[in-house]
Subunit: 199 residues, 2 copies
DNA sequence: GCCGTCGCTGACCCCGCGGTCAAGGCGTCC
DNA sequence: GGACGCCTTGACCGCGGGGTCAGCGACGGC
């Protein structure tokens, strides 16, 4: 599967991945042709098929890599924090920070989510983070004697908030990440009705 | 633009729309060919182009109609309710009820949101509902002296929650709509940290 | 200098797509 | 019955897509 590559080869491969990521994010999967990708780098078509099996395989690879990277960022941010609520907050903030740093990858995930062919990849990539999040929610409910709620639903709701705010405010008019993160955290924790209290 | 159709013609047209809606929802825009649509109804290809200008135009029409229909449902549900928080709740519930009744249309909206070609249609369709929602949020904040928050961000967050919960729980697992709606409302209003209180 | 391996070329193939159109029913009204 | 207009047919077109492949450097080891 994994082909042996010299440093030179690896460089080309990375070029292709980087360029393809940008194009996929900008124009979607179907509207980005292989011809476009190679001509964008000024190379022949064969180069593409030297490094990748197919356009689809490349897309999936980028997608998977992005999801792994995001997951790493989340893990690193959460670290060994004990308080479940705080873990959730750190997860939210690190996710938004990652999206802010990788707008193309996030866009690509959105594209993938809208395509039947790739949707299950997205779901699979989310699953683990979602399970973790659900656990934290469950812990939080137990620890703090909160109202009973299905942890998975709450976890999904949080993902919904984060995804939506990121998709709306980060790429368009560059709202400061921190402001968006603050809003996301405040909403997820306190909802609409939270009384004003120490910020 | 709008062609005159006899009752028979209108019936065919509706058949095509219904079938296309299902196919688009199931397989996406690109992976649903015109040939597939017509052969699914056992008619010739010309039939399609007798009723529609193009595949794209048909898709956009279905999309627009779905969004208008959803909006009508929301309006009807909210009616003349005065309390902004209650208006928001009614909006959430009616949206989820609509999605539950029209899974294909909702799926189609998701598909459209992931395609660069149609994304702006989706946004445009959301805009009005979003503005309304923002107003309600603003009113709620003023009325109840809640913590200051950007109404638009809160509105987007609410849409995020509703969209995500609908997309995850309604089509796959046949979760009862009311349960999902209760969870969505509870989360949007009280967030994670809301203490337990009268259900 | 020679040869092998890695990287690259780009013309080419085949296919399926969206879309067209000349021609042929079929219903209806006179 | 004839004529007209709505509806339908399906072979056909051009195009651009993903993917292939025989052959051409070019560089490094011997």
């Amino acid at each position: 599967m994994g082909k042996q590559l010299t440093p030179r080869g690896r460089q080309r491969r990375d070029q292709l991945i980087a360029f393809a990521t940008a194009r996929f994010a900008e124009r979607g999967y179907h509207d980005t042709s292989v011809a476009e990708l190679v001509s964008g780098l000024g190379v022949g078509k064969g180069v593409f098929y030297w490094y990748f099996e197919s356009k689809e395989q490349l897309f999936v690879e980028i997608l998977r890599q992005a999801q792994l990277d995001l997951r790493d960022a989340q893990r690193a941010a959460i670290g060994s924090e004990r308080d479940p609520v705080r873990r959730i907050e750190l997860g939210i903030r690190s996710t938004l920070a990652w999206i802010d740093r990788h707008p193309d990858h996030n866009e690509l995930i959105r594209v993938a989510a809208g395509d039947d062919r790739f949707r299950h990849h997205v779901r699979r990539g989310e699953e683990i983070a979602l399970d973790d999040l659900s656990k934290h929610v469950k812990d939080a409910i137990v620890d703090r004697d909160l109202r009973h709620a299905d942890p998975e639903m709450v976890a999904q709701a949080i993902l919904g908030v984060v995804g939506r705010l990121a998709g709306t405010f980060l790429p368009g008019r560059g709202a400061p990440v921190d402001a968006v993160a603050d809003a996301a955290v405040a909403f997820c924790l306190g909802g609409l009705l939270a009384e004003q209290h120490a910020k």
